[in-house]
């Protein structure tokens, strides 16, 4: 599984990465977590507001910090 956290490295972006990392560890998920700060790569997804979370190429959320329950649901799909 490829998980990308899109954002400039601000507090909310770091929080999203923290949530994802925690859930990946807790559930022993085989995943590569990447922090994407490159504006061109972020815009390639059509994302206009950050933070954003992309799982296996699918943009799950943008502009908000997702709840842990929501991220768990996405990771378990």
């Amino acid at each position: 599984m490829k998980i990308e956290v899109l954002g400039s490295g601000c507090a909310k972006c770091n929080k999203v990465k923290e949530i994802v990392q925690k859930l990946v560890n807790e559930n022993n998920i085989d995943a590569e977590i990447i922090k994407v700060e490159d504006i061109d790569k972020i815009l390639d997804y059509g994302v206009m507001v950050t933070p954003a979370l992309v799982i296996d190429g699918d943009v799950k959320i943008a502009g908000k910090i997702p709840s842990e329950d929501k991220v768990r649901e996405w990771l378990m799909q």
Partner: protein, 137 residues
């Protein structure tokens, strides 16, 4: 400074909005094939430059582009600018399940719809002033 192009618009790196700093307001225009459609597009650009909100791609909402849909969903408020009473922008957003908080209709601002695609100078300035007043209230 990195630049990128989304649907024909140059987006400067600093224009990608981080949700940490303030309220996110999305601006969508119909950008249709008429004077008022093109005026709606220019209004969205001007309002973005004035810091009222951030112009986003309405056609991407109709096209169900995930990143654009999620970005709109992640905004605190949505302003739709339609050129004429066909209300394509408002309808497109609502069909995608997005709530439109403010709706601007250019023909309600004293501009008659025609097939001109060039926005005439005074029309933009006059309409922008009216829209700014509406949004301030």
């Amino acid at each position: 400074m990195a630049n990128a192009v989304i649907s024909g618009y140059i987006i400067m790196a600093e224009d990608l909005k981080c949700a940490c700093d303030s309220t996110n307001v999305a601006l969508f225009s119909c950008s249709g094939a008429s004077n008022v459609g093109q005026l709606s597009n220019q209004l969205a650009i001007e309002l973005t430059e004035k810091g009222v909100g951030k112009m986003m791609c309405a056609v991407g909402i109709g096209g169900e582009v995930a990143g654009l849909l999620r970005s709109a969903e992640g905004c605190d408020r949505i302003i739709a600018i339609d050129g004429c009473p066909l209300n394509c922008t408002k309808k497109t957003l609502e069909l995608a399940g997005l709530e439109v908080n403010r709706h601007i209709l250019v023909t309600d601002l004293g501009i008659k719809k025609n097939k001109d695609l060039r926005v005439k100078g005074p029309e933009l300035a006059d309409t922008l002033e009216k829209v700014s007043e509406i949004l301030a209230n």
